[in-house]
Structure formats: C-alpha cells, structure tokens
C-alpha cells in the first residue's frame, strides 16, 4: 500500500555541549518517537553541532519537526529540506556521535562513531545525497569520510 512520505532535514547548535548521558537520552528519545510514529532517519552530533534527517508520513514528520524546533536543548535550527520521497533511505534508525567517552558507546546498537559511518545510501537522489554529505561534513568536519562497510550493532 502506498502512503505519502517526505523527509525533513535540519541543522542546529546545542545550547550547551551535550554530555554522554544526555546523548544517550537523546538516542532513547529518538527511538521512542521512532517506534511510536514509524519515523526513521539519521542524527549527527559532534561538538555542539546537531543535524538530523527524519523520514515518514508528512502528517507525522511535520508536527514532529515543529516539536523538535521548539526543543530548548538546541537553537539556530535551520531547515534544509522538506520534500516528498519515494522510499526510506534510513529504514533503521541510526545516529552518529562524537561521544566524550567512546568506550561507553561502543556497546550501543544503531550507533556509529563518525569514522564508522556507512556511505550515504544510494536510494537518495544525488541532490539529497549531496545534502547529507554536506551536512555530515558540516557536523564532523572535512576529514570524516564515510566508511565503506558499516559496523552496525544489528
């Protein structure tokens, strides 16, 4: 059955650097929203830079983005994309962090260190893939190239 889908991408700055604890909470919160709303996507965080792409039913993603934009933990929210898509490109919710203590995070599932990130999926149009690549570069810096093979938890 076909249902309309869109994706929304944004970048923002954390109001203050997030601790590993807060990152874990953020991860848990994203997963909860995901399970409830059937939203998927990817979240990047590094040194206060936040970027997220969410995909799902526009009736869910639009209000979700409004809620995210109001979140007091970040500011300078810049929406980069909001457009219909044919299929999901991030069917497993995933996120990439620069945690303060990488040891503690290696056990988490659906989580990548920036240098372990998989290549941008080729289900994205080239324009959207370019967007994700530029976002990734803006968050993690120029020297983080996507690894060819991902070391995903499951």
């Amino acid at each position: 059955m076909f249902s309309p889908m869109n994706h929304i991408a944004y970048m923002s700055r954390a109001v203050r650097p997030l601790s590993d604890q807060e990152l874990q909470e953020l991860l848990a919160q994203c997963r909860r929203d995901n399970a409830r709303n059937n939203v998927t996507g990817i979240l990047f965080y590094s040194h206060g830079n936040i970027a997220q792409l969410i995909e799902g039913d526009p009736a869910v993603t639009r209000p979700l983005f409004e809620k995210i934009a109001q979140d007091g933990r970040h500011s300078n929210v810049v929406k980069l994309a909001d457009k219909p898509i044919e299929a999901r490109s991030f069917p497993d919710w995933s996120m990439a962090f620069h945690p303060i203590d990488p040891e503690g995070f290696s056990a988490l599932t659906d989580f990548f260190l920036p240098h372990q990130m998989p290549a941008t999926p080729d289900t994205l149009s080239i324009a959207d893939a370019l967007l994700v690549d530029l976002v990734r570069q803006a968050v993690f810096g120029a020297n983080t190239t996507a690894a060819e093979s991902a070391s995903v938890g499951n």
């Binding site: 980069l80 457009k83 080239i126 324009a127 370019l130 967007l131 690549d133 530029l134 120029a142």
Partner: protein
C-alpha cells in the same frame, strides 16, 4: 501587703530601677535588671564603686544630686559584661536621673531608672548608614545619568516629563527654562511626530514600554536619528506610574544600515538582471540564493531547487562527479570550476561553465557562484573542429590525388616521348618550319616532364615536413646539391661562392634543407642575366636574436617586388614567363620554411640581381 507586691513588681521589671542614697550615693533599692547593669554586686548601704559605672556618669549623678534638677542621658552606651566571662557587648540605655526629696524638699538621694534602648539605637545607626549609602548612590546615579552619552528621562502617566537629563539641553540647544512638554514634540521631525506621539500614548495607555526611532532637531538645526526606549515603573500590578527611558543617537548606524541595505538591494538587482545563473552558498555549501534568471532558465523556483537542487540540473552522467567535486571544494576552500551541461526548462541541455569562489569577510565565509551559458561557443567550436578535420582530410586526399595523378601520367608521357623520338627518327620532314614545330613539341614534352616531377616532389616534401631534424653540415649539403646541378652550372659558366663560416651547421630536416637549397640555386641559375656570367653567393649566419639564416644572392634578371603581397610565393605563379619552369619552386620553399616556423624574405633590383634570405626559425 501592697507595698510588698509593689516591691516584687519593681524587682522583676525589665527596666533597671535603683535608689542611691546620701551624698555618697549608697545603694538603696536595686532591682534585678539594674543589678545586672551594675555588675551584680550591690550590697545595700555600700557606696557606688569606680568599677560599677563610668566616671562621667557618676560625675553627672553627683551634679544632679547637688543641683536637685533631673537629667536624662539618652542612648548611653554601657559595656555589659556577658555571663560566663564573655566579651562585653555594648548596650544602650536611656538613663533617667531623678533627685529623691524628703518631706522638706531636701535631696537625700537619686532615683536611677535605666531602659535598654539597644535595639532602637542599633536601628538608628543602621538607618544613618543607609542614608549615607543612599546619598552616595544617588550622587553616583546623577553623575552617571548626566555624563552618559544618552538623554535620560522620566515621564508620568499623563505624559508629562518629570525629569530629563542635561544632555537633552545640550543636544537641542534649548534654555533650561524651556517647557519640555510643549517643546519636545515640536522638535521631532514633522514626518515622525504623529507616529511618535501615538506610539508613546499607546504604550502609556497599555502600561508597557516602548522602543522607537525618530528624528530630533539638533541645536544646529540638523535632524538626527534617535532611538528612544523606555520601561514602565509599576506601582501595582498593571498600574504603571512612571516611564523611565533613554534616548540614544543612532544616526550614523542608521545611515550605515541604510547604505548597506541600498548596496545589497542594488547588488541583488544587478544579480537578477544578469542573464546568467548567479547564486550564493553558505560556508557549509548549501545554496541560499539563486538569481531571477535561474528561475527563468530552469523553470524551477529557488524553493523547489533547495540548497542542493542545482546538481539535479546537471546532465545525469555528470551529477555525481559534480557533487563530489563540490563537497571537496567546500571542505578545502578551493574554487569550483567546470564545464557542465545544464538542463533548461524545456529539457534541452546546454553547456555551462560553472565557477564558484569563496569569500571571507567580517560576516563570515560564503560562496559566490555563476553558471555561464557557453553552449553557442561550444557548438561553434565543435562545428569548426569538424570542418577543420574535414579540410585536413580533403587536403590529404588532394595531395594523394596529385601525387597519384603525376605518377600515373609519367608512364603515358614516357610512352609519348618514346613514340615522338621514334617518329623523329623514322619520318622525314621537308619543310623547314616542321623542324621548328618538332623542336617546340620536344620542348613542351620536356616541360611536361619537369612539371610532373615537381608536382610529385611537392607532395613528397609535404609529407617530409614532419620528418625529424638533425644537425646538418651546410657545406656538405650545398656541395651535394651543386653536384646535382653540375650541368646547369657548367653550361651557364656560373661562379658559386659558399660562405658558411658564421654558422656552419643547421638543425633541420635534411630532405627539406636540400629541397630549399636546390630550388633557390636552380632559380638563380635559371633567371640569370644573358649578358653576364652568373655569380651566386650562398652564405649562412645568425641574427642578433641568435636565429640562423641562409642567403642566396645572384646577379641575374631581378624582379619587381611588391612589399604588400608576396605573389612570387604562390603556387604556379611565375615571374618570368619566357623562361622554363613550373612555378612550384618558391611555393615549395615557402611551405617548408613556414611549416617549421620560419619565413622567407626577398630583395631584388631589376637588371641587377636578387637576394633570397631564409630565416629558418622566426
């Protein structure tokens, strides 16, 4: 009974009560509070000791006793010994000294009455300190408000000015006696007056602050932009009594902002007017502005294109490489530069040069890019290249044709020559004129042979133009060529001088060099003056710039040289029609020399001789 009750009450009263009797002021009745005050030891009948009360108080007591008039010592400080040997703390007492009189109005003692006023005294002292501090703060506030580069003011709920700092008078040049409420509105620029008055009134009615800009007339008559901001002072919730505010001059900032806005609007107009795709991007590489023409060309609005949509306009085969290149450029800061096909709104792909450069200034880092349509130029170049290839091929075909034709014609010519010789040998001609005819046919056949040979040679040379070069000894080549022309030289009794001392060797194609020498020498011999034996000089040398040259000078017929055009170098163009030749020679030299980057010059005087100079390179 009553007396006892009274005594008990007096004994336990919180105020100190004591009677001191006789001129020695001996202890009479001392209640508990007074006992504590006097140090605890007050045996009845004992006089006051030095330690129990300070000397000044005892002196006053003595005087009250002597004079019989009462006295009250207000807030008199007494160090009260703490229990358990603690440090004495100062306590304050109002001490009333009342003379006690007997029935005959004779003073026989003092009534001592002490009320602890320590609390009041301390409060009074605190109040005094506070008053001092308040005065100090007040003075500081006044200095601040009167020296800050701002006009400060206070307005009441009715809109009347309660206070305005002296800066207002400096700014407006008004006398201190000016009626603020009447004059201030008059000094506001007429175009701003109504708006300002309305905004202030509206804010006062709503009990909120305001912040607005308007022009106020300065003492020199110039209107300056000011920013007026005020906040309400609330006396009860939602009930503002006063507004306190400051007026800051923002004229220069405003002028600057106006100029910036104007500049930006003009730049945007400029960008929108250019028939090119112009865009800007953020430091992260997201496009945040496309000019008007982009929408016209692509048929997509800036929103539809989005921050990375430009890549989808590029021909699909080039999209990923363009995207990769852009990501790299954003990372490294290198300029983006490339030739891409971009889709027009009607689906046609047109060639564009895409260029983007980074600009870093006070406002951060941004990218500026332009896509220039070079499709027409690109197509024209393709057409020209195609035509060039076609022409080159035709040229090659022609050469081949000429070579084949001249080669193929040689055999029939050979046959013709054989048949003609046979005819001459066997047939007899009686007429004298027939002999002339025969000679003419013979000459024509000879000329045809030479022409065919030269044509073949031309094509041959053409093919050798790309032959490799080597260092050649000029003298040996010249002697070789002269050997080939030996018959001609001997027939003409010509003298040939060789002078290669200045530049004995030349780096050139050997066959080309031989061909050039052969043609120049045979020309010099051919166009010799019949009245004198030919004298030919061949010399070599170097120009000042170090480029080699070769000169062939004769004393032959000479010719007209047209400076403007060089018709003598055209194929089949002949200077002396009465002399045998094919007209190929000079053309051939010209082609050889120019194809290797050199040129040929000629100087000649009719009847005296000709000099050809070959500048091999340049």
């Amino acid at each position: 009974m009553r007396d006892q009750e009274l005594q008990r009450i007096l004994r336990h009263m919180p105020a100190g009560i004591a009677t001191l009797l006789g001129p020695e002021l001996r202890y009479g009745f001392v209640n508990e509070a007074m006992q504590a005050l006097l140090g605890g030891n007050t045996p009845e009948g004992q006089p006051l000791t030095d330690v129990s009360l300070p000397a000044d108080l005892r002196e006053v007591m003595q005087k009250v006793y002597d004079s019989g008039s009462p006295f009250v010592a207000k807030a008199y400080g007494l160090p009260l010994l703490g229990s358990n040997g603690e440090e004495p703390t100062p306590r304050y007492f109002d001490i009333a000294l009342e003379p006690l009189q007997d029935d005959e109005d004779q003073v026989h003692g003092l009534l001592l009455f002490a009320v602890d006023v320590t609390g009041q005294e301390e409060a009074r002292q605190r109040a005094h300190e506070l008053a001092l501090e308040t005065r100090r703060l007040d003075a500081r506030l006044r200095v601040l408000t009167e020296t800050a580069p701002q006009i400060t003011f206070t307005v009441d709920a009715a809109g009347n000015y309660e206070y305005v700092s002296p800066q207002w008078y400096y700014f407006t040049g008004q006398p201190p006696t000016a009626d603020l409420d009447a004059i201030w509105p008059l000094l506001v620029h007429p175009e701003d007056r109504l708006r300002v008055l309305y905004q202030m009134e509206a804010a006062r009615k709503a009990g909120i602050g305001w912040s607005h800009e308007y022009r106020l007339r300065r003492h020199d008559g110039q209107y300056r932009w000011l920013l007026s901001r005020a906040v309400p002072e609330l006396h009860a919730p939602d009930q503002a009594a006063y507004w306190h505010g400051a007026v800051t001059e923002v004229h220069d900032q405003r002028e600057l902002a106006d100029a910036l806005r104007r500049g930006e609007a003009e730049l945007r107009f400029l960008a929108d007017s250019i028939p090119q795709l112009i865009w800007t991007a953020t430091a992260e590489g997201f496009i945040d502005y496309y000019n008007q023409h982009t929408a016209e060309y692509t048929g997509s609005s800036a929103d539809e294109l989005g921050p990375t949509g430009w890549v989808s306009l590029i021909h699909p085969s080039e999209q990923s490489s363009a995207a990769r290149r852009w990501v790299q450029c954003v990372a490294s800061g290198e300029s983006f530069d490339g030739l891409f096909q971009m889709r027009r709104h009607d689906g046609q792909y047109r060639w564009h040069i895409i260029r983007a450069r980074q600009l870093t200034d006070a406002r951060g880092l941004r990218w500026f890019g332009a896509c220039t349509d070079v499709d027409d130029q690109h197509r024209l170049r393709e057409v020209l290249q195609h035509q060039y290839d076609e022409l080159a091929r035709t040229n090659r075909d022609l050469d081949t044709f000429v070579y084949t034709a001249s080669h193929d014609l040689k055999q029939p010519l050979f046959n013709l020559r054989g048949l003609f010789d046979e005819l001459r040998r066997t047939a007899t001609f009686d007429d004298e004129e027939h002999e002339v005819l025969l000679r003419m046919v013979d000459g024509a056949l000879g000329q045809l042979d030479v022409t065919l040979h030269d044509l073949a040679a031309t094509v041959q040379e053409q093919r050798q133009l790309t032959a490799p070069t080597e260092a050649i000894d000029l003298r040996s080549v010249a002697e070789e060529v002269l050997l080939g022309l030996r018959v001609l030289v001997e027939d003409a009794e010509a003298t040939v001088n060789l002078d290669f001392k200045a530049a004995p060797t030349l780096i050139y194609g050997r066959a080309n060099l031989r061909s050039v020498l052969h043609n120049l020498l045979s020309n010099a011999l051919k166009y010799a003056c019949p009245e004198r034996p030919p004298c030919i000089t061949i010399a070599s040398g170097m120009t000042e710039a170090g480029k080699p040259w070769l000169k062939v000078q004769d004393n032959g017929l000479g010719m007209e040289v047209n400076k403007d055009a060089n018709p003598i170098f055209q194929l089949f163009d002949r200077q002396h029609p009465h002399i045998g030749g094919t007209g190929v020679g000079l053309y051939l030299i010209q082609r050889i020399v120019t194809s290797r980057g050199g040129h040929l010059e000629v100087a000649s005087t009719v009847g005296e001789g000709t000099t050809f100079t070959v500048y091999w390179f340049g």
